[in-house]
Protein backbone atom coordinates (compact mmCIF):
# COMPACT_ATOMS: atom_id res chain seq x y z
CA UNK A 1 0.00 0.00 0.00
CA UNK A 2 1.76 3.16 -1.20
CA UNK A 3 2.22 6.22 0.99
CA UNK A 4 -0.68 8.61 0.30
CA UNK A 5 1.48 11.67 0.94
CA UNK A 6 4.07 10.55 -1.57
CA UNK A 7 1.30 9.78 -4.02
CA UNK A 8 -0.12 13.29 -3.56
CA UNK A 9 3.30 14.83 -4.06
CA UNK A 10 3.79 12.87 -7.26
CA UNK A 11 0.47 14.17 -8.56
CA UNK A 12 1.42 17.69 -7.53
CA UNK A 13 4.68 17.34 -9.41
CA UNK A 14 2.92 16.22 -12.55
CA UNK A 15 0.53 19.15 -12.29
CA UNK A 16 3.54 21.45 -12.21
CA UNK A 17 5.02 19.84 -15.32
CA UNK A 18 1.73 19.85 -17.19
CA UNK A 19 1.22 23.44 -16.14
CA UNK A 20 4.36 24.44 -17.99
CA UNK A 21 3.35 22.31 -20.98
CA UNK A 22 -0.15 23.84 -21.05
CA UNK A 23 1.29 27.36 -20.84
CA UNK A 24 3.46 26.55 -23.83
CA UNK A 25 0.46 25.47 -25.91
CA UNK A 26 -1.51 28.48 -24.74
CA UNK A 27 1.08 30.79 -26.25
CA UNK A 28 0.95 28.95 -29.54
CA UNK A 29 -2.77 28.32 -29.83
CA UNK A 30 -4.43 30.48 -27.20
CA UNK A 31 -2.64 33.66 -28.21
CA UNK A 32 -1.28 33.17 -31.70
CA UNK A 33 -3.82 30.71 -33.09
CA UNK A 34 -1.30 28.06 -34.15
CA UNK A 35 -2.61 24.52 -33.95
CA UNK A 36 0.39 22.65 -32.61
CA UNK A 37 -0.69 19.04 -32.52
CA UNK A 38 2.80 17.76 -32.00
CA UNK A 39 3.39 19.01 -28.46
CA UNK A 40 4.39 15.56 -27.25
CA UNK A 41 7.36 15.55 -29.60
CA UNK A 42 8.84 18.65 -27.99
CA UNK A 43 8.39 17.27 -24.52
CA UNK A 44 10.16 14.20 -25.84
CA UNK A 45 13.05 16.22 -27.24
CA UNK A 46 13.47 18.01 -23.93
CA UNK A 47 13.28 14.76 -22.01
CA UNK A 48 15.86 12.96 -24.09
CA UNK A 49 18.19 15.94 -24.20
CA UNK A 50 18.16 16.15 -20.43
CA UNK A 51 18.65 12.41 -20.07
CA UNK A 52 21.63 12.33 -22.40
CA UNK A 53 23.10 15.45 -20.83
CA UNK A 54 23.17 14.17 -17.26
CA UNK A 55 24.24 10.77 -18.50
CA UNK A 56 27.34 12.43 -19.85
CA UNK A 57 28.12 14.16 -16.62
CA UNK A 58 26.69 17.58 -17.30
CA UNK A 59 25.33 19.59 -14.41
CA UNK A 60 21.52 19.50 -14.10
CA UNK A 61 21.24 23.24 -14.66
CA UNK A 62 23.13 22.89 -17.93
CA UNK A 63 20.95 19.94 -18.84
CA UNK A 64 17.83 22.02 -18.30
CA UNK A 65 19.24 24.85 -20.37
CA UNK A 66 20.15 22.46 -23.15
CA UNK A 67 16.68 20.94 -23.14
CA UNK A 68 15.13 24.35 -23.50
CA UNK A 69 17.44 25.39 -26.29
CA UNK A 70 17.37 22.19 -28.31
CA UNK A 71 13.59 21.98 -28.18
CA UNK A 72 13.27 25.62 -29.08
CA UNK A 73 15.60 25.39 -32.04
CA UNK A 74 14.00 22.23 -33.40
CA UNK A 75 10.60 23.81 -32.91
CA UNK A 76 11.55 26.84 -34.95
CA UNK A 77 13.17 24.84 -37.74
CA UNK A 78 10.33 22.35 -37.94
CA UNK A 79 7.82 25.15 -38.18
CA UNK A 80 9.56 27.09 -40.92
CA UNK A 81 7.79 25.41 -43.76
CA UNK A 82 4.53 24.85 -41.99
CA UNK A 83 3.84 28.46 -41.10
CA UNK A 84 2.18 29.07 -44.42
CA UNK A 85 -0.19 26.13 -44.08
CA UNK A 86 -3.86 26.46 -43.32
CA UNK A 87 -4.66 25.60 -39.71
CA UNK A 88 -5.92 22.05 -40.30
CA UNK A 89 -3.05 21.20 -42.65
CA UNK A 90 -0.67 22.61 -40.06
CA UNK A 91 -2.26 20.43 -37.40
CA UNK A 92 -2.01 17.26 -39.51
CA UNK A 93 1.56 18.01 -40.57
CA UNK A 94 2.82 18.71 -37.06
CA UNK A 95 1.03 15.62 -35.75
CA UNK A 96 2.63 13.51 -38.44
CA UNK A 97 5.97 15.17 -37.68
CA UNK A 98 5.64 14.21 -34.03
CA UNK A 99 4.93 10.60 -34.91
CA UNK A 100 7.87 10.50 -37.29
CA UNK A 101 10.12 12.02 -34.65
CA UNK A 102 9.05 9.30 -32.27
CA UNK A 103 9.63 6.71 -34.95
CA UNK A 104 13.13 7.98 -35.66
CA UNK A 105 14.00 8.13 -32.01
CA UNK A 106 12.81 4.60 -31.47
CA UNK A 107 14.81 3.26 -34.40
CA UNK A 108 17.79 5.55 -34.28
CA UNK A 109 20.31 3.37 -32.50
CA UNK A 110 19.38 0.25 -34.46
CA UNK A 111 19.64 2.21 -37.68
CA UNK A 112 23.03 3.69 -36.95
CA UNK A 113 24.36 0.32 -35.88
CA UNK A 114 22.94 -1.24 -39.02
CA UNK A 115 24.45 1.42 -41.25
CA UNK A 116 27.85 1.04 -39.66
CA UNK A 117 27.63 -2.70 -40.01
CA UNK A 118 26.56 -2.27 -43.60
CA UNK A 119 29.34 0.04 -44.63
CA UNK A 120 32.23 -1.14 -42.53
CA UNK A 121 31.18 -4.53 -41.25
CA UNK A 122 31.99 -3.43 -37.71
CA UNK A 123 29.69 -4.34 -34.85
CA UNK A 124 29.24 -1.17 -32.82
CA UNK A 125 27.58 -0.54 -29.50
CA UNK A 126 25.98 2.80 -30.13
CA UNK A 127 23.24 3.41 -27.66
CA UNK A 128 22.20 7.01 -27.57
CA UNK A 129 18.44 6.89 -27.24
CA UNK A 130 17.86 3.44 -25.93
CA UNK A 131 15.42 2.51 -28.67
CA UNK A 132 12.24 0.80 -27.62
CA UNK A 133 13.61 0.01 -24.21
CA UNK A 134 13.96 3.63 -23.28
CA UNK A 135 16.39 5.28 -20.96
CA UNK A 136 16.87 5.53 -17.26
CA UNK A 137 17.21 9.14 -16.21
CA UNK A 138 19.16 10.31 -13.24
CA UNK A 139 17.25 12.87 -11.25
CA UNK A 140 18.50 16.39 -10.79
CA UNK A 141 17.85 16.44 -7.10
CA UNK A 142 19.83 14.22 -4.79
CA UNK A 143 18.70 13.73 -1.23
CA UNK A 144 19.60 10.20 -0.28
CA UNK A 145 17.83 8.62 2.61
CA UNK A 146 14.87 10.90 3.08
CA UNK A 147 12.28 10.21 0.42
CA UNK A 148 9.82 12.78 1.69
CA UNK A 149 12.40 15.54 1.72
CA UNK A 150 13.49 14.49 -1.74
CA UNK A 151 9.98 14.91 -3.04
CA UNK A 152 9.63 18.28 -1.36
CA UNK A 153 12.84 19.39 -3.04
CA UNK A 154 11.56 18.19 -6.39
CA UNK A 155 8.30 20.04 -5.90
CA UNK A 156 10.18 23.23 -5.08
CA UNK A 157 12.16 22.83 -8.27
CA UNK A 158 9.20 22.34 -10.54
CA UNK A 159 7.01 24.97 -8.97
CA UNK A 160 9.68 27.64 -8.95
CA UNK A 161 10.25 26.97 -12.63
CA UNK A 162 6.50 27.00 -13.20
CA UNK A 163 6.25 30.36 -11.47
CA UNK A 164 9.11 31.72 -13.56
CA UNK A 165 7.49 30.43 -16.74
CA UNK A 166 4.16 31.90 -15.79
CA UNK A 167 5.72 35.27 -15.07
CA UNK A 168 7.60 35.22 -18.33
CA UNK A 169 4.52 34.33 -20.34
CA UNK A 170 2.46 36.95 -18.54
CA UNK A 171 5.00 39.68 -19.22
CA UNK A 172 4.98 38.72 -22.85
CA UNK A 173 1.23 38.53 -23.24
CA UNK A 174 0.44 41.75 -21.39
CA UNK A 175 2.51 43.82 -23.74
CA UNK A 176 2.32 45.25 -27.24
CA UNK A 177 3.99 42.01 -28.35
CA UNK A 178 1.16 39.98 -26.86
CA UNK A 179 -1.31 42.28 -28.54
CA UNK A 180 0.20 41.43 -31.90
CA UNK A 181 0.10 37.70 -31.21
CA UNK A 182 -3.60 37.98 -30.58
CA UNK A 183 -4.09 40.14 -33.61
CA UNK A 184 -2.43 37.45 -35.72
CA UNK A 185 -4.83 34.94 -34.27
CA UNK A 186 -7.81 37.12 -35.07
CA UNK A 187 -6.84 38.12 -38.60
CA UNK A 188 -3.41 37.48 -39.99
CA UNK A 189 -3.94 39.36 -43.23
CA UNK A 190 -5.21 42.47 -41.44
CA UNK A 191 -2.15 42.31 -39.17
CA UNK A 192 0.08 42.25 -42.22
CA UNK A 193 -1.72 45.21 -43.73
CA UNK A 194 -0.88 47.03 -40.53
CA UNK A 195 2.76 46.30 -41.08
CA UNK A 196 3.34 43.38 -38.71
CA UNK A 197 5.78 40.75 -39.95
CA UNK A 198 3.52 37.94 -38.92
CA UNK A 199 5.77 35.00 -39.76
CA UNK A 200 8.44 36.26 -37.38
CA UNK A 201 5.93 36.39 -34.56
CA UNK A 202 4.62 32.94 -35.41
CA UNK A 203 8.12 31.53 -35.47
CA UNK A 204 8.91 33.13 -32.14
CA UNK A 205 5.68 31.81 -30.66
CA UNK A 206 6.47 28.26 -31.75
CA UNK A 207 10.06 28.65 -30.62
CA UNK A 208 9.00 29.80 -27.19
CA UNK A 209 6.28 27.16 -27.00
CA UNK A 210 8.71 24.43 -27.96
CA UNK A 211 11.34 25.69 -25.53
CA UNK A 212 8.87 25.63 -22.64
CA UNK A 213 7.69 22.19 -23.70
CA UNK A 214 11.30 21.05 -23.65
CA UNK A 215 11.62 22.36 -20.12
CA UNK A 216 8.51 20.45 -19.09
CA UNK A 217 9.84 17.31 -20.73
CA UNK A 218 13.19 17.56 -18.98
CA UNK A 219 11.59 18.10 -15.60
CA UNK A 220 9.26 15.18 -16.15
CA UNK A 221 12.06 12.89 -17.26
CA UNK A 222 14.30 13.50 -14.28
CA UNK A 223 11.41 12.98 -11.90
CA UNK A 224 9.88 9.85 -13.39
CA UNK A 225 13.35 8.38 -13.75
CA UNK A 226 12.54 6.56 -16.97
CA UNK A 227 11.54 7.64 -20.46
CA UNK A 228 10.73 5.79 -23.66
CA UNK A 229 9.20 6.70 -27.01
CA UNK A 230 5.92 5.23 -25.82
CA UNK A 231 5.61 7.92 -23.15
CA UNK A 232 5.18 10.59 -25.82
CA UNK A 233 2.35 9.35 -27.95
CA UNK A 234 -0.32 11.62 -29.45
CA UNK A 235 -2.64 11.18 -26.52
CA UNK A 236 -0.20 13.23 -24.46
CA UNK A 237 -0.53 16.07 -26.97
CA UNK A 238 -4.25 15.66 -26.81
CA UNK A 239 -4.32 15.79 -23.02
CA UNK A 240 -2.43 19.08 -23.12
CA UNK A 241 -4.92 20.44 -25.65
CA UNK A 242 -7.68 19.49 -23.31
CA UNK A 243 -5.96 21.36 -20.50
CA UNK A 244 -5.82 24.53 -22.53
CA UNK A 245 -9.36 24.30 -23.88
CA UNK A 246 -10.92 23.28 -20.58
CA UNK A 247 -9.04 25.82 -18.50
CA UNK A 248 -9.73 28.66 -20.84
CA UNK A 249 -8.21 29.42 -24.20
CA UNK A 250 -6.00 32.48 -24.08
CA UNK A 251 -5.93 32.62 -20.31
CA UNK A 252 -2.66 31.66 -18.63
CA UNK A 253 -4.20 30.90 -15.26
CA UNK A 254 -6.74 28.87 -17.17
CA UNK A 255 -3.97 26.70 -18.58
CA UNK A 256 -2.75 26.00 -15.06
CA UNK A 257 -6.28 25.24 -13.93
CA UNK A 258 -6.77 22.94 -16.89
CA UNK A 259 -3.53 21.15 -16.07
CA UNK A 260 -4.72 20.57 -12.52
CA UNK A 261 -8.12 19.32 -13.64
CA UNK A 262 -6.93 16.97 -16.36
CA UNK A 263 -4.13 15.62 -14.21
CA UNK A 264 -6.60 14.92 -11.43
CA UNK A 265 -8.44 12.61 -13.82
CA UNK A 266 -5.22 10.72 -14.31
CA UNK A 267 -4.65 10.86 -10.56
CA UNK A 268 -8.04 9.31 -9.94
CA UNK A 269 -7.24 6.47 -12.31
CA UNK A 270 -3.83 5.94 -10.74
CA UNK A 271 -5.36 6.06 -7.30
CA UNK A 272 -7.83 3.37 -8.20
CA UNK A 273 -5.08 1.28 -9.68
CA UNK A 274 -2.65 1.64 -6.77
CA UNK A 275 -4.98 1.53 -3.87
CA UNK A 276 -7.82 -0.69 -4.94
CA UNK A 277 -6.01 -3.70 -6.31
CA UNK A 278 -7.76 -5.89 -8.85
CA UNK A 279 -10.72 -4.51 -10.77
CA UNK A 280 -12.73 -5.88 -13.69
CA UNK A 281 -12.10 -2.69 -15.64
CA UNK A 282 -8.68 -1.27 -16.36
CA UNK A 283 -8.63 2.25 -14.85
CA UNK A 284 -6.42 3.47 -17.66
CA UNK A 285 -9.11 2.69 -20.21
CA UNK A 286 -11.75 4.35 -18.06
CA UNK A 287 -9.47 7.34 -17.69
CA UNK A 288 -9.09 7.88 -21.41
CA UNK A 289 -12.72 7.15 -22.16
CA UNK A 290 -13.57 9.80 -19.62
CA UNK A 291 -11.04 12.27 -21.02
CA UNK A 292 -12.22 11.70 -24.59
CA UNK A 293 -15.87 12.10 -23.66
CA UNK A 294 -15.12 15.18 -21.57
CA UNK A 295 -13.44 17.00 -24.40
CA UNK A 296 -16.49 16.45 -26.59
CA UNK A 297 -18.69 17.89 -23.86
CA UNK A 298 -16.37 20.84 -23.30
CA UNK A 299 -16.20 21.59 -27.01
CA UNK A 300 -19.97 21.36 -27.25
CA UNK A 301 -21.02 23.34 -24.22
CA UNK A 302 -18.17 25.48 -23.02
CA UNK A 303 -15.69 25.79 -25.88
CA UNK A 304 -14.09 28.89 -24.47
CA UNK A 305 -13.24 27.03 -21.30
CA UNK A 306 -13.72 27.84 -17.67
CA UNK A 307 -11.70 31.03 -17.37
CA UNK A 308 -12.28 33.70 -19.93
CA UNK A 309 -9.70 35.43 -21.97
CA UNK A 310 -8.61 38.63 -20.31
CA UNK A 311 -8.04 41.89 -22.14
CA UNK A 312 -4.45 42.89 -22.61
CA UNK A 313 -3.36 44.78 -19.51
CA UNK A 314 -0.41 46.96 -20.24
CA UNK A 315 0.41 49.71 -17.74
CA UNK A 316 -0.58 52.52 -20.09
CA UNK A 317 -3.90 50.98 -20.97
CA UNK A 318 -4.70 50.30 -17.34
CA UNK A 319 -3.96 53.90 -16.38
CA UNK A 320 -6.19 55.11 -19.17
CA UNK A 321 -8.96 52.77 -18.21
CA UNK A 322 -9.03 53.79 -14.58
CA UNK A 323 -8.35 57.44 -15.19
CA UNK A 324 -11.17 57.24 -17.62
CA UNK A 325 -13.83 55.86 -15.35
CA UNK A 326 -12.86 58.39 -12.75
CA UNK A 327 -13.01 61.33 -15.13
Amino acid sequence: MPDPLIFAMHIAYRIGVYGIAALSLNIEYGYTGLSNFGKAAFLMIGAYTAAIAVENGLHPAIALLLSIMVSGVIGVSASLFALKFREDYLAITILAFAEIARLILRNFDDSIRALIRFTTGVESYINVFGGVHGKVVRSFVSIPGDYRLYNIAQLSLVYSLLAASYLFVKLLSDSPYGRILRAIREDELASQTLGKKTWIYKMQAIGLGSALAGLAGALSAQFEGYISPESFQPHLTFAIWMMVILGGVGNNLGSLLGAALVESIEAAALFVKSFLGYLPLDPVNIQWIFVGASIIIVVAFKPKGILEERPIKTPAVEVARHGYTRG
Binding site: F168, L171, L172, S175, P176, Y177, G178, R179, I180, R182, A183, E186, D187, L189, A190, S191, Q192, T193, L194, G195, K196, K197, T198, Q204, E309, P311, I312, T314, P315, A316, V317, V319, A320, R321, Y324
Partner: protein, 256 residues
Protein backbone atom coordinates in the same frame (compact mmCIF):
# COMPACT_ATOMS: atom_id res chain seq x y z
CA UNK B 1 3.45 66.45 -57.58
CA UNK B 2 1.74 63.12 -57.91
CA UNK B 3 2.28 60.97 -54.86
CA UNK B 4 0.62 57.96 -56.46
CA UNK B 5 0.84 57.08 -60.12
CA UNK B 6 -0.99 54.15 -61.68
CA UNK B 7 -0.07 53.12 -65.21
CA UNK B 8 -1.98 50.67 -67.41
CA UNK B 9 -2.99 48.61 -64.42
CA UNK B 10 -5.01 45.51 -65.25
CA UNK B 11 -6.42 42.54 -63.41
CA UNK B 12 -8.64 39.69 -64.55
CA UNK B 13 -10.39 37.04 -62.51
CA UNK B 14 -10.98 34.05 -64.71
CA UNK B 15 -12.54 35.53 -67.82
CA UNK B 16 -13.72 38.71 -66.13
CA UNK B 17 -11.63 41.83 -66.62
CA UNK B 18 -12.05 43.56 -63.26
CA UNK B 19 -9.59 46.38 -63.95
CA UNK B 20 -8.81 47.28 -67.54
CA UNK B 21 -5.64 49.29 -68.19
CA UNK B 22 -6.30 52.08 -65.71
CA UNK B 23 -4.13 55.21 -65.72
CA UNK B 24 -4.45 57.71 -62.90
CA UNK B 25 -2.51 60.14 -60.71
CA UNK B 26 -3.23 61.17 -57.16
CA UNK B 27 -1.70 64.53 -56.31
CA UNK B 28 0.00 65.07 -52.99
CA UNK B 29 -2.07 66.52 -50.15
CA UNK B 30 -5.30 66.24 -52.06
CA UNK B 31 -8.57 64.57 -51.30
CA UNK B 32 -9.13 62.48 -54.40
CA UNK B 33 -12.33 60.57 -54.92
CA UNK B 34 -13.04 57.35 -56.81
CA UNK B 35 -16.64 56.66 -57.70
CA UNK B 36 -18.49 54.31 -60.00
CA UNK B 37 -21.31 51.79 -60.08
CA UNK B 38 -21.03 48.59 -58.13
CA UNK B 39 -18.64 46.10 -59.65
CA UNK B 40 -16.69 48.71 -61.58
CA UNK B 41 -13.39 47.54 -60.16
CA UNK B 42 -12.74 50.20 -57.53
CA UNK B 43 -12.02 47.83 -54.67
CA UNK B 44 -9.86 45.62 -56.88
CA UNK B 45 -7.85 48.72 -57.76
CA UNK B 46 -7.36 49.47 -54.08
CA UNK B 47 -6.45 45.83 -53.46
CA UNK B 48 -3.69 46.02 -56.02
CA UNK B 49 -2.32 49.29 -54.69
CA UNK B 50 -2.20 47.95 -51.14
CA UNK B 51 -0.57 44.69 -52.19
CA UNK B 52 -3.41 42.46 -51.12
CA UNK B 53 -4.02 41.21 -54.65
CA UNK B 54 -1.28 40.80 -57.28
CA UNK B 55 -1.70 42.73 -60.51
CA UNK B 56 -1.73 41.08 -63.92
CA UNK B 57 0.06 43.93 -65.68
CA UNK B 58 0.84 47.61 -65.28
CA UNK B 59 2.81 49.67 -62.81
CA UNK B 60 2.15 51.44 -59.55
CA UNK B 61 4.46 54.21 -58.41
CA UNK B 62 4.49 55.79 -54.96
CA UNK B 63 6.66 58.85 -54.25
CA UNK B 64 8.57 58.10 -57.40
CA UNK B 65 9.33 54.46 -56.57
CA UNK B 66 7.65 51.33 -57.91
CA UNK B 67 5.52 49.47 -55.41
CA UNK B 68 3.64 46.92 -57.49
CA UNK B 69 4.54 43.41 -56.39
CA UNK B 70 5.36 44.40 -52.83
CA UNK B 71 3.76 42.58 -49.94
CA UNK B 72 1.14 44.28 -47.76
CA UNK B 73 3.47 44.97 -44.87
CA UNK B 74 6.03 46.52 -47.21
CA UNK B 75 3.38 48.80 -48.69
CA UNK B 76 2.42 49.75 -45.16
CA UNK B 77 6.00 50.61 -44.36
CA UNK B 78 6.17 52.97 -47.32
CA UNK B 79 3.36 54.92 -45.71
CA UNK B 80 0.23 53.70 -47.44
CA UNK B 81 -2.58 52.61 -45.15
CA UNK B 82 -5.80 51.15 -46.39
CA UNK B 83 -9.16 50.63 -44.77
CA UNK B 84 -11.50 47.86 -45.83
CA UNK B 85 -15.03 48.10 -47.16
CA UNK B 86 -16.14 45.49 -44.68
CA UNK B 87 -14.16 46.42 -41.61
CA UNK B 88 -11.39 43.97 -40.86
CA UNK B 89 -11.13 44.59 -37.20
CA UNK B 90 -9.75 42.40 -34.48
CA UNK B 91 -13.10 41.42 -33.08
CA UNK B 92 -12.23 39.99 -29.70
CA UNK B 93 -9.78 42.75 -28.86
CA UNK B 94 -10.73 46.06 -27.28
CA UNK B 95 -11.39 49.08 -29.46
CA UNK B 96 -8.34 50.72 -27.91
CA UNK B 97 -6.23 47.66 -28.74
CA UNK B 98 -7.40 47.88 -32.32
CA UNK B 99 -6.15 51.45 -32.40
CA UNK B 100 -2.83 50.66 -30.76
CA UNK B 101 -2.12 47.88 -33.23
CA UNK B 102 -2.19 50.34 -36.10
CA UNK B 103 1.01 52.05 -35.05
CA UNK B 104 4.25 51.59 -36.95
CA UNK B 105 7.56 50.76 -35.32
CA UNK B 106 6.71 50.47 -31.68
CA UNK B 107 9.52 49.25 -29.45
CA UNK B 108 7.28 47.12 -27.30
CA UNK B 109 6.42 45.01 -30.28
CA UNK B 110 9.64 43.06 -30.41
CA UNK B 111 10.32 40.00 -28.33
CA UNK B 112 13.26 41.47 -26.44
CA UNK B 113 11.64 44.84 -26.19
CA UNK B 114 8.49 43.45 -24.64
CA UNK B 115 10.28 41.75 -21.77
CA UNK B 116 13.33 43.86 -21.11
CA UNK B 117 12.53 47.40 -22.15
CA UNK B 118 9.30 47.76 -20.23
CA UNK B 119 9.97 51.32 -19.13
CA UNK B 120 10.69 52.58 -22.60
CA UNK B 121 7.62 51.19 -24.25
CA UNK B 122 5.33 52.01 -21.38
CA UNK B 123 6.07 55.71 -21.85
CA UNK B 124 5.68 55.40 -25.59
CA UNK B 125 2.46 53.52 -25.19
CA UNK B 126 1.06 56.16 -22.89
CA UNK B 127 1.58 58.74 -25.61
CA UNK B 128 -0.12 56.49 -28.15
CA UNK B 129 -3.02 55.77 -25.83
CA UNK B 130 -3.62 59.49 -25.46
CA UNK B 131 -3.50 59.96 -29.20
CA UNK B 132 -5.86 57.03 -29.74
CA UNK B 133 -8.33 58.34 -27.19
CA UNK B 134 -8.28 61.75 -28.88
CA UNK B 135 -9.11 60.24 -32.24
CA UNK B 136 -11.80 58.02 -30.70
CA UNK B 137 -13.27 61.09 -29.04
CA UNK B 138 -13.64 62.93 -32.31
CA UNK B 139 -15.18 59.88 -33.93
CA UNK B 140 -17.66 59.60 -31.10
CA UNK B 141 -16.34 56.23 -29.94
CA UNK B 142 -15.00 57.23 -26.51
CA UNK B 143 -17.58 55.24 -24.59
CA UNK B 144 -16.57 52.08 -26.38
CA UNK B 145 -12.83 52.45 -25.99
CA UNK B 146 -12.50 49.50 -23.65
CA UNK B 147 -15.15 47.29 -25.16
CA UNK B 148 -14.37 44.44 -27.54
CA UNK B 149 -14.78 45.46 -31.14
CA UNK B 150 -17.56 43.00 -31.91
CA UNK B 151 -19.85 44.95 -29.60
CA UNK B 152 -19.82 48.00 -31.85
CA UNK B 153 -22.62 48.83 -34.24
CA UNK B 154 -22.00 48.58 -37.97
CA UNK B 155 -21.53 52.32 -38.32
CA UNK B 156 -19.19 52.47 -35.35
CA UNK B 157 -17.10 49.71 -36.87
CA UNK B 158 -16.58 51.82 -39.96
CA UNK B 159 -15.48 54.72 -37.80
CA UNK B 160 -13.03 52.56 -35.91
CA UNK B 161 -11.64 51.40 -39.23
CA UNK B 162 -10.91 55.01 -40.13
CA UNK B 163 -9.56 55.76 -36.68
CA UNK B 164 -7.15 52.87 -37.00
CA UNK B 165 -5.95 54.14 -40.31
CA UNK B 166 -5.35 57.56 -38.80
CA UNK B 167 -3.21 56.16 -35.98
CA UNK B 168 -0.50 55.21 -38.40
CA UNK B 169 0.32 58.76 -39.58
CA UNK B 170 0.11 57.64 -43.16
CA UNK B 171 1.28 59.63 -46.16
CA UNK B 172 -1.47 58.18 -48.33
CA UNK B 173 -4.70 56.91 -46.89
CA UNK B 174 -6.86 54.62 -49.03
CA UNK B 175 -10.39 54.73 -47.63
CA UNK B 176 -12.89 52.24 -49.00
CA UNK B 177 -16.40 53.67 -48.49
CA UNK B 178 -15.68 55.29 -45.12
CA UNK B 179 -19.20 56.59 -44.59
CA UNK B 180 -21.31 53.64 -45.65
CA UNK B 181 -23.93 52.87 -43.06
CA UNK B 182 -23.30 56.08 -41.15
CA UNK B 183 -25.91 58.85 -40.71
CA UNK B 184 -25.53 61.91 -43.00
CA UNK B 185 -24.56 64.33 -40.23
CA UNK B 186 -21.76 62.07 -39.05
CA UNK B 187 -20.72 61.45 -42.63
CA UNK B 188 -20.30 65.17 -43.13
CA UNK B 189 -18.31 65.55 -39.92
CA UNK B 190 -16.07 62.63 -40.91
CA UNK B 191 -15.19 64.41 -44.09
CA UNK B 192 -14.62 67.56 -42.07
CA UNK B 193 -12.16 65.63 -39.94
CA UNK B 194 -10.50 64.28 -43.05
CA UNK B 195 -9.90 67.85 -44.15
CA UNK B 196 -8.53 68.74 -40.70
CA UNK B 197 -6.07 65.87 -40.88
CA UNK B 198 -5.02 66.84 -44.35
CA UNK B 199 -4.43 70.42 -43.21
CA UNK B 200 -2.49 69.39 -40.12
CA UNK B 201 -0.37 66.49 -41.41
CA UNK B 202 -0.36 66.89 -45.16
CA UNK B 203 -1.89 63.42 -45.60
CA UNK B 204 -3.18 62.52 -49.03
CA UNK B 205 -6.60 60.85 -49.20
CA UNK B 206 -7.78 58.55 -51.96
CA UNK B 207 -11.40 57.68 -51.18
CA UNK B 208 -13.93 55.29 -52.71
CA UNK B 209 -17.34 56.71 -51.98
CA UNK B 210 -20.99 56.24 -52.86
CA UNK B 211 -22.14 59.33 -50.98
CA UNK B 212 -21.49 61.42 -54.02
CA UNK B 213 -22.68 64.85 -52.74
CA UNK B 214 -20.60 64.73 -49.58
CA UNK B 215 -17.57 63.63 -51.53
CA UNK B 216 -18.01 66.35 -54.13
CA UNK B 217 -18.12 69.13 -51.53
CA UNK B 218 -14.75 68.05 -50.11
CA UNK B 219 -12.79 66.44 -52.94
CA UNK B 220 -10.22 68.24 -55.07
CA UNK B 221 -10.31 65.68 -57.87
CA UNK B 222 -12.56 62.80 -58.81
CA UNK B 223 -12.06 59.65 -60.88
CA UNK B 224 -14.95 57.62 -62.25
CA UNK B 225 -14.68 53.93 -63.08
CA UNK B 226 -17.12 51.76 -64.96
CA UNK B 227 -16.74 48.09 -65.89
CA UNK B 228 -13.07 48.14 -65.02
CA UNK B 229 -12.15 51.18 -67.08
CA UNK B 230 -11.51 54.74 -66.08
CA UNK B 231 -14.08 56.93 -67.82
CA UNK B 232 -13.49 60.32 -66.19
CA UNK B 233 -10.80 62.12 -64.26
CA UNK B 234 -11.25 65.74 -63.31
CA UNK B 235 -12.79 68.28 -60.98
CA UNK B 236 -15.98 67.28 -59.15
CA UNK B 237 -17.96 69.99 -60.89
CA UNK B 238 -17.34 68.41 -64.27
CA UNK B 239 -18.38 64.94 -63.30
CA UNK B 240 -22.16 65.23 -63.43
CA UNK B 241 -22.25 66.87 -66.83
CA UNK B 242 -19.87 64.35 -68.42
CA UNK B 243 -21.77 62.21 -70.92
CA UNK B 244 -19.84 59.01 -70.31
CA UNK B 245 -20.52 59.26 -66.58
CA UNK B 246 -24.21 59.81 -67.23
CA UNK B 247 -24.35 56.74 -69.41
CA UNK B 248 -22.58 54.61 -66.83
CA UNK B 249 -24.88 55.71 -64.07
CA UNK B 250 -28.10 55.52 -66.07
CA UNK B 251 -30.65 53.87 -63.85
CA UNK B 252 -28.02 53.52 -61.18
CA UNK B 253 -28.50 56.38 -58.74
CA UNK B 254 -26.38 55.98 -55.62
CA UNK B 255 -27.25 58.59 -53.11
CA UNK B 256 -27.37 56.72 -49.87
Amino acid sequence: MAILEVRRLSKSFGGLKAVDSVDLDVEEETITGLIGPNGSGKTTLFNMISGVVPRDSGEIWFEGKRIDGLKPFEIYERGIVRSFQIPRLFWKLMVLDNMLLAVRGFSGESFIGAIFRRWRWTAEEKRLVDKALDILNILGLSDSAFKPAYQLSGGQMKLLEIGRALMADPKLLLLDEPTAGVNPKLAYSIFGKIEDIRRAYGTTFFIIEHRVETLFSHADWVYVMSNGSLIYGGKPSGVISDSRVQKAYLGDIHAT
